[in-house]
């Protein structure tokens, strides 16, 4: 169950021997080494690990925002080397254009992606369909500064879904939200994924979120030279209900396994006096990858 060997057949996305080095003034910094992962169509994968372990870097390599220095990512037989709408990203801090309404933000994506293939009326319908999908139909003509954080993130998801991506990349999509809003959005994502069968890679810090949403949880070791430590297959029937699962022994066992990986096997052992310095470094690497 915990083996790293990956038996996925006909993967939509394949990461082979991915590694990345960042040049720094003190010499190069090896952030990732030898990341191997195959993802099947319609699968929901969570990447979990301590901050600074390179989760975002993996996601950005798949998105094409960063270039791997070793190995590479192959999506449906084609190597990824630049960003594109077939690998839509839901950014951590929503990244909506603040001067456009929710509708216009989605419209920008739809107009770019379906430039010739959809008529104006079809585009309008498609934009509204996606906003309704994330329950934002009622506020689609509001600007980001007029809606709550959770609503912004919903619009961000609608924008990504509207691109009809082959794979949806979510970079800690609910990290900045309060617990209740987060639960709502998790339910929305599960619902949408059930209906549309999207392939999703999601980065998270939240163990419950990972177990609840994922088909597999990919656990990363600490950096530098971070890589995949363990892969945990979550064999829980869908649809999943967070209240019922709370008493499910299997669910709790999965949870316990992830927790033990994070806090026993990959416990961050740093002297307290260094914490500040390390945090700074984390921030700077995150800036590079974000």
């Amino acid at each position: 169950m915990n083996s790293i060997t990956d038996n996925t057949i006909n993967p939509i996305l394949e990461l082979t021997g991915v590694g990345i080095e960042f040049p720094t003034p003190k010499g190069s910094f090896q952030a990732l080494t030898d990341v191997n992962l195959k993802i099947a169509k319609g699968e929901m994968i969570s990447l979990i690990g301590h901050s600074g372990c390179g989760k975002s870097t993996v996601l950005n390599i798949v998105a094409g925002l960063l270039q791997a220095t070793e190995g590479g990512a192959v999506l449906e037989g084609k190597e990824v080397n630049e960003p594109g709408p077939e690998r839509a990203v839901v950014f951590q801090n929503h990244s909506l254009l603040p001067w456009l309404t929710a509708y216009e933000n989605v419209e920008l994506a739809v107009k770019t992606v379906f430039d010739r293939s959809k008529t104006k009326a079809e585009m309008k319908e498609w934009i509204e369909y996606n906003l309704n999908l994330v329950h934002m139909g009622h506020a689609m003509h509001k600007r980001p500064d007029e809606i709550s954080g959770g609503m912004k993130q919903r619009v961000g998801i609608a924008r990504a879904l509207a691109m009809e991506p082959k794979i949806l990349l979510m970079d800690e999509p609910f990290g900045a939200l309060d617990a209740l809003t987060r639960a709502h959005l998790q339910d929305s994502v599960m619902e949408i994924q059930k209906d549309l069968g999207n392939t999703i890679i999601m980065i998270t810090h939240d163990v419950d979120e990972a177990v609840l949403l994922s088909d597999r949880i990919v656990m990363m070791t600490n950096g530098p030279s971070a890589t995949i430590g363990e892969v945990l297959k979550i064999d829980l029937p869908r649809p999943r209900n967070r209240i019922e699962l709370a008493d499910d022994p299997k669910y709790n066992q999965y949870r316990q396994q992830v927790l033990s990986f994070l806090y026993e096997k990959q416990r961050k052992v740093e002297p307290i006096s260094n914490t500040k310095k390390v945090n700074k470094k984390d921030l700077s690497t995150e800036k590079q990858t974000a």
Binding site: P85, N93, W99, V113
Partner: protein, 338 residues
């Protein structure tokens, strides 16, 4: 402000804290705020007038005492009267001309009428108009060059590195240094039998343009370079075309910096224009000041003082107009602008 005074009064003893509590009881907070908002600027202006008035009485020049506020006001009134008189003369001139032509035409139907333009001397108000037209022409032309240039420089680090030395070199150059060159070049290049614009106008416009270009270029470039990485990533993931990227992402997010640049540029343009008109004898407010200085009558200093205040007032109004434009064009209506 209020919290500060509250803490200081609570720290100090006795009388002052009781005075504070009395004012709090008698006047509601909003009234206090309103009085502050109105009274403080008025107090500032009154203080300035006091200094000006008392200072003026103690300065003797070869043209008499330095004009105080009341003399300046007097001169302002007389400038307005002169303007109205001149307008009346002009109307009368055209009336006479029309009557004469009509009479000639009645005598001889084949007579071709001649119309001559009135050539009275431009009044203070006319000079203001000329100056405004010149400064706006120069400023608009400068902006049309500066904003696209700033966007290009901001988008490319390499272009910025290449352009920066040139910008830094020309940014501090005074209009007075440009003026002789511009004058010579304009007289050499702009030669036409029937020019659409006067040479002096072209010279002033180009001088204004050369000096007011730089703040807009630099601020636009800085604004464009500071666009958040998240928005750039969105643009990358969407594979926006270069022009879409500029119009949908770059321009909206750099609008505040562009306007900061434009306001600085317009301020400089106005200052430069006055200096250029003075030195090059181009028509406008600068020429008015220079003519009055050469005139040297007992009224001259008062008239110059009026010009100084009007120049300041127009500069201030131009800045307010830019601020209103910024509010109109900016997507963030809540942003604090000052």
């Amino acid at each position: 402000m209020i919290t500060k005074s509250a803490t200081s009064s609570s720290l100090s003893s006795g009388s002052s804290s009781s005075w504070k509590s009395i004012t709090d009881d008698v006047m509601p907070m909003w009234l206090q705020d309103m009085i502050k908002a109105i009274m403080l600027p008025i107090a500032g202006l009154l203080f300035f007038l006091l200094i000006w008035g008392t200072g003026a009485q103690n300065i003797d020049t070869s043209l008499g005492k330095f004009p105080g506020p009341s003399q300046a006001l007097e001169q302002f009134k007389s400038l307005i009267t002169e303007h109205n008189d001149e307008r009346e003369k002009e109307v009368a001139f055209y009336q006479r001309q029309d009557d004469r032509n009509a009479a000639r035409l009645a005598q001889d139907p084949n007579y071709t009428i001649k119309i001559r333009n009135y050539t009275g001397k431009p009044t203070f108000i006319d000079q203001i108009g000329t100056s405004l037209i010149t400064v706006l022409t120069g400023f608009i032309l400068a902006s049309l060059v500066a904003i696209p240039l700033g966007i290009m420089i901001g988008l490319s680090k390499n272009l910025y590195a290449a352009a920066n030395p040139v910008i830094q070199l020309f940014k501090p150059v005074s209009p007075l240094a440009w003026l002789p060159l511009v004058t010579m070049v304009v007289s050499a290049v702009y030669t036409s039998e029937d020019p659409l614009f006067a040479k002096s106008f072209i010279t002033s416009v180009i001088t204004v343009l050369l000096c007011s270009l730089w703040p807009t270029v630099l601020n636009t470039a800085v604004g464009v370079a500071a666009i958040s990485q998240d928005l750039l990533n969105v643009s990358k993931v969407l594979r926006l075309k270069p022009m879409t990227h500029v119009f949908k992402i770059v321009i909206p997010s750099s609008i505040p910096m562009v306007f900061t640049g434009l306001r600085l540029s317009l301020g400089i343009a106005w200052m430069v224009l006055i200096a250029a008109e003075m030195l090059a004898q181009n028509p406008g407010l600068g020429k008015f000041v220079w003519d009055e200085f050469q005139n040297g009558s007992s009224n001259s200093l008062g008239r110059i003082m009026v010009a100084v205040i009007v120049i300041g007032l127009i500069g201030f109004l131009l800045d307010r107009i830019m601020l209103m434009l910024q509010k109109y064009f900016s997507w963030d209506k809540q942003a604090l602008l000052r």
